[in-house]
């Protein structure tokens, strides 16, 4: 049966005025990994009045990760919310690997959210006439985009080219055996208790569980981002703020605000602190650390000259940062507990933008020692330097994913600046964006996506692009401030 898919992605570049998750680009055939087809049912609310549509948040997480195709529910005549309501004979007519069902119950101001991820393979409830590999003429689906984000229109025709396993239908079973078979089809199930304001977090936790179950990898849906918001008055920057948010742009909190520049946010490995650079009115830059609840601000470094580009070591014991004590920018290690400073680079060139390798034993950084800014790697014990970037005239702003799989960086040619990623095992590099106006990049903890800042209609916005370049969208943060220097926090529960 032909499937209509959920999120609509258009090949046409979409404007920032789209309210929700405006997709910039989708190339359905890009990348070697085929997205997993899945259905996510609306969660039954049983009289509860949650302000979060949990099924929609799960569906967005999975679809926009680029690893799933989430079916458009409008084509289905069934909306099960419990295992016993799943008619496997019906569902197995579609090319779906699994279905997500759930319920929300409310007691006072607490909610209980239950979900199940149910396999649509290997289910003995299939009637003898159904077979996953049969192509059944689709019931004409209504061509409306009412239920989908205003942004996108997907073309279902191309998306049916997804291989699905051939299941030989067995004869229908007795009802006792049927419910056993149904239970065997449950891949994951959990009940959460949460307040109304935490329901998005629950949805993201569920999405992580689905992602882990289907892909064997940790998802990033509960992770946070930090970034700088600059408000301008008459074209001049009037205030700078350090802000955090959920990775999808919701739940924005301001940690610091100033009339002087704030820049270079960096998450501690456990996600409980952020290092950043703040300027005082007299132009002195300092590296500071703040707790993610906004308390505990302390100054780490404010030597004469530069105090910039802080980044945490994977074990949280050190910060690498940039000072100009020698007259030019060089990289130092700062011991977070004892305050000792150790030089890492010691030449007369520009050395900046340090980032640790996941094993903490080396630092990748930007240097112009060979004439143009390029990426290099230096081992901390011994100081051996080797080149990391292998093409082009401008490669800066590197970050290695926590799992060590990929390196994101900014790739320029003098005029155009785009997000690029390098596979850490093969060294092969891909350019992931095309607008040429990208300023800053940061990679997801699992290396599967990159968040970046770019200009759209003379206004800086945050976007996310998947590591194969196939999915690309703006975060739905519609403020007049310019948003820059996003940094992706660790994968947290």
């Amino acid at each position: 049966m032909k499937l209509k898919f959920f999120a609509s992605f258009s090949a046409v570049l979409l404007l920032v005025s789209q309210p929700l998750f405006a997709a910039l680009d989708l190339e359905l055939t890009k990348g070697v990994r085929k997205p997993i087809p899945i259905a996510v049912m609306p969660f039954a609310t049983n009289g509860a009045t949650p302000s979060t549509d949990i099924g929609a948040v799960i569906g967005h997480d999975l679809q926009y990760s680029g690893r799933f195709y989430v079916a458009n529910n409008q084509q289905f005549s069934s909306t099960p919310s419990q295992l016993s309501q799943i008619d496997f004979g019906y569902w197995q007519k579609y090319n779906l690997n699994a279905i997500v069902i759930g319920q929300v119950n409310q007691t006072g101001n607490q909610y209980q959210v239950t979900f199940s991820l149910v396999s649509l393979f290997n289910n003995a409830n299939a009637s003898s006439s159904s077979n996953n590999s049969t192509t059944v003429a689709a019931t004409p689906a209504p061509t409306s985009t009412a239920a989908t984000p205003a942004s996108a229109v997907i073309s279902p025709a191309t998306s049916t080219a997804i291989a699905s396993p051939t299941i030989n239908a067995s004869a229908s079973m007795s009802s006792a055996a049927t419910s056993t078979a149904a239970n065997n089809a449950v891949l994951a199930t959990q009940t959460f208790t949460a307040s109304g304001s935490d329901l998005r977090k629950v949805a993201h936790q569920i999405a992580n569980m689905i992602y882990q179950n289907q892909l064997g990898e940790q998802g990033y849906f509960t992770s946070k981002i930090a970034f700088i918001a600059v408000n301008n008055i008459d074209g001049s920057p009037a205030s700078y703020s350090l802000q955090t948010a959920d990775y999808d742009g919701y739940n924005i909190h301001t940690l610091v605000s100033s009339t002087e520049p704030i820049m270079s946010p960096s998450w501690s490995p456990k996600g409980n602190r952020i290092a950043y650079v703040a300027y005082s009115k007299n132009g002195q830059s300092s590296v500071k650390v703040i707790n993610t609840d906004g308390g505990g601000v302390r100054t780490v470094s404010n030597t004469t000259g530069l105090n910039n580009a802080p980044t945490w070591s994977p074990d949280g014991s050190q910060l690498a940062l940039v000072l100009s004590k020698t007259g030019n920018p060089n990289i130092y290690l700062y011991n977070v507990n004892g305050g000792q400073l150790t030089p890492v680079t010691q030449d007369g060139n520009i050395n900046t933008e340090p980032t640790f390798s996941p094993d903490g034993k080396s630092i990748i950084f930007t240097s112009n020692k060979n004439g143009s800014p390029q990426l290099y790697q230096i081992t901390l014990a011994g100081g051996t330097v080797q080149a990391v970037s292998n093409q082009g005239t401008y490669n800066t702003d590197a970050q290695v994913s926590t799992d060590g799989s990929s390196l994101s960086f900014l790739q320029g040619d003098g005029t155009n600046f785009n997000v690029a990623a390098q596979d850490m095992s093969t060294g092969s590099t891909n350019t992931l964006t095309r607008d040429g106006l990208v300023q800053s990049t940061s990679i997801a903890p699992n290396g599967e996506a990159v968040i970046y800042s770019t200009t759209n209609n003379n206004h800086q916005m945050l976007g996310i692009v998947t590591i194969d370049g196939a999915v690309n969208y703006f975060l739905p943060i519609n403020v007049s401030a310019d948003l820059k220097e996003p940094t992706w926090g660790p994968a947290v529960g």
Partner: protein, 165 residues
């Protein structure tokens, strides 16, 4: 022609500079020569108020080609004049603020801009100023607007700001 105060000329930018009297237009140094458009002066707009303004001493913005971090020859006499002033006024001090064009990554631009102000500092010290009178710092591209695809020449500069008269 109505005489305008120095700091308000700074705020009003290049439009006024072009129409100002020859004497006052020296304040903007190469504003006309560096692509014409005034530098982004809304940030800290009173910063040029302190310090001497007569003649070359009023040239407080040194514009670099955007691919260079070396003080351009055309500003050497202005930098030398400031150095002479500092040499003769041991209680005076300046902050050299480096700026960079928005293209590229923010921290690399901080570093480029720092190299620019360092280059001016080195020249001034050669010309007689004391290192203790000069504070070298960088704003990089942090006070610019968003990158729109091409360089803005006026962003590539060092501002000479007196912190002590």
């Amino acid at each position: 022609m109505k005489k305008l105060q120095v700091f308000s000329l700074v705020v009003l930018g290049s439009v006024l500079a072009l129409s100002a009297c020859t004497k006052n237009s020296l304040l903007y140094g190469g504003l006309g020569g560096a692509g014409g458009r005034g530098a982004h002066l809304g940030f800290h707009k009173d910063k040029f108020k302190l310090g001497p303004h007569r003649g070359l001493l009023g040239v407080r913005q040194y514009f670099f080609p955007c691919d260079s971090i070396v003080l351009p020859q055309q500003y050497q006499t202005a930098a030398a004049a400031q150095a002479q002033y500092l040499k003769g006024h041991s209680g005076s001090a300046v902050q050299l603020q480096g700026f960079a064009d928005t293209a590229g990554s923010p921290e690399y631009n901080i570093a480029i801009a720092q190299q620019r102000s360092q280059s001016v500092a080195q020249y001034m010290i050669q010309q007689g100023a004391k290192a203790s009178q000069i504070n070298v710092m960088s704003y990089g591209a942090e006070t610019n607007g968003p990158y729109t695809g091409s360089s803005t020449a006026a962003n590539c500069r060092v501002d000479v700001v007196y912190t002590k008269d």
